[in-house]
């Protein structure tokens, strides 16, 4: 083994220029791949964060079947105790209860259909930054106040302004007619069209009272400390809470968003494929040239009794040595550049604002996969394309050694 390693190492060293070019291809490919994975992870996680923190949260808990057919009656009993046991999970950093309903709303003689959300405004503000979304007026004066926030699209349709009175008509869970008048204290904008066209937000206790819900909730939304840990935390919670509730991750309840993200990811995979196709062609070129140049040498090795398998091993050893060096340099470079992009970020041409948060730069996140994926790709592409030239070298006719030079 030592012999092949030594032979391979000296052979690699022998063609310094060519080795150098191959190394550039290798660590260049590695670096570009590593940077694009870290960048893609960064923007991906940022997008998830922005999206889920708008309203949905990372995980939602409902009565089973609620996600498919939301209904006033599909409410979970004992909202407070459920909330307490969710919050006791060490990875849950915020959780908030919600009740949801629908009905008619009217300001003066203009009326429209509306979706009603009853929220705990203090808990929402630590999780979804709801108060930041208020574009005119202010937030609720108390947890049970007869006040509402109206989404800007709906407010436009109703010609509603802070200070107006909103009349609400719906049906209580007990079948009673539910109607009351509320003071419009603020107009909000979430950035999501559907929400902004239809939604009226109530203090949770005010909506519970209107609908005779007691302490029931329709939804508990929560966020965890690490987006990557969402599925694991969801599994934990489902186990803790049992079959009475259904624990869903954002991938489930935000399917459209998830699909868009997946598509985005696929774009990253395609560019990785292209990068490593380039690396593979570069390596193939080097190895093929080397093998053709050394035909006579392989003939001599064969004549002396070196087996074809040993020749294959020698060629693959040379490629492996280059890949190890290339990946090492690539790791150092990739780590440095990724860290800078994670730390400083890349400024966006124009700041983006979504649901009350504005961000002007995007950052990478440095995770193990921005190194191991490119490393595996460098080794795999280099070794796969080297098999053909290695076999060619192994098949060199030993009689070639006898030819005079």
């Amino acid at each position: 083994m030592k012999l092949w390693f030594q032979l391979a190492l000296r052979n690699v060293w022998r063609q310094k220029r060519r080795t150098f070019l191959t190394l550039i291809t290798m660590f260049g490919g590695f670096g570009v791949a590593s940077i694009s994975i870290a960048w893609s992870d960064g923007t991906f996680e940022k997008a998830i964060d922005v999206y889920t923190r708008n309203f949905s949260g990372h995980i939602q808990i409902h009565s089973p079947g609620y996600l498919d057919t939301p209904s006033l009656y599909a409410a979970v009993d004992g909202g407070e105790s459920l909330l307490a046991s969710v919050q006791s999970h060490p990875q849950v950093i915020a959780a908030t209860p919600r009740v949801k309903a629908a009905g008619l709303v009217a300001v003066g003689d203009v009326s429209a259909g509306g979706r009603f959300w009853g929220v705990d405004i203090t808990r929402e503000s630590s999780m979804t930054r709801l108060p930041d979304k208020i574009i005119s007026g202010q937030s609720f004066s108390g947890p049970a106040a007869n006040e509402v926030l109206v989404a800007n699209g709906l407010a436009l349709a109703l010609d509603a302004d802070p200070g107006d009175t909103l009349v609400v008509v719906s049906q209580g869970i007990d079948g009673s007619l539910a109607n009351d008048a509320y003071l419009v204290v603020g107009i909000f904008e979430s950035g999501e069209a559907l929400v902004d066209q239809t939604t009226v937000i109530f203090p949770i206790d005010a909506l519970r009272e209107l609908l005779v819900l007691g302490d029931r909730v329709h939804e508990i939304a929560l966020i965890v400390d690490d987006v990557a840990a969402v599925p694991a935390v969801a599994r934990d919670l489902q186990q803790r809470l049992g079959d009475a509730v259904d624990v869903a991750t954002w991938q489930v309840f935000a399917q459209t968003f998830n699909r868009a993200m997946e598509l985005n990811r696929r774009g990253t995979w395609v560019s990785l494929l292209i990068i490593f196709a380039v690396v593979a062609v570069g390596v193939l070129n080097t190895v093929l040239m080397t093998v053709l140049e050394r035909t006579r040498e392989y003939g001599v090795l064969r004549a002396l009794g070196t087996s074809p398998l040993q020749i294959v091993r020698l060629v693959l050893f040379e490629v492996t040595i280059m890949a190890v060096i290339g990946v090492t340099i690539g790791c150092v470079l990739g780590f440095a550049i990724n860290s800078v992009i994670a730390w400083v970020g890349i400024p966006l041409p124009a700041p983006i604002s979504h649901g009350g948060v504005e961000f002007s730069r995007l950052n990478s996140v440095v995770r193990a996969q921005s190194f191991w994926i490119p490393a595996v790709c460098v080794f795999a592409s280099a070794l796969v394309v080297s098999i053909f030239p290695a076999r060619r070298a192994a098949r060199t006719a030993p009689a070639l050694a006898m030819r005079a030079r």
Partner: protein, 242 residues
Amino acid sequence: MIHPSIVASHATTTAEHVVVAENVTKEYRDGGLVVHALNGINLTLDRGEFTAIVGPSGSGKTTFLNLVSGLDSVTGGDIWLAEKRLSRMTSAELSDFRRDHVGFVFQSYNLIPVLTVAENVEYVMLLQGVPAEERAGRVERMLDRLGMHGYAGRFPNQLSGGQQQRVAIARAIVAEPDLILADEPTANLDSTTAGELIDLLRELNEENGITCIFSTHDSRIMERARRLVMLQDGCVDRDEIL
């Protein structure tokens, strides 16, 4: 399996056949063209012989040496080397057989350029799995014997042609093969160096009884042989003991 003539020769004389070629033919196909390089060669080489193969260019010397050493396979006939029938071996078997039974000296030296003199000499023993201590001892003795002692750490491109060919001889005999085979070993050397080199080979032959067969065009070199086989158009034209 042992060749019948070997059994026979053991019965009649003490000489042992190292090589037995029986009616050996070799054709090269070059597109549609068939070249008859060897047309029925019968030849035996006994252990300890020092034989020159001579003949005009294209007469089949290289072809014959290739077949005898298992670098190439026959078209017809049989070749036996060290009691093994080469003509029935697969290329993998031939590879191991060459490693263990044949030492090569090439016209173009063909040392491995990235290995030092000592490593070149050691190479075949590494393939054979000879223990490190024994390898080191044999390499040292061999380089001493060939007057290359001070050059162990040099690379081939730091040596003259004659020095490279000495190293090649060391590499060929260090693993004690049954046959040393040299195709025009002196063709790239000036006449003085060529003479010294062939004398060295002959000394080694006399000291150790190594069987050696070489081809040459040079009449002063063939004079040093003890047996001369002359090829003409792929046939043995003359075979004489000097």
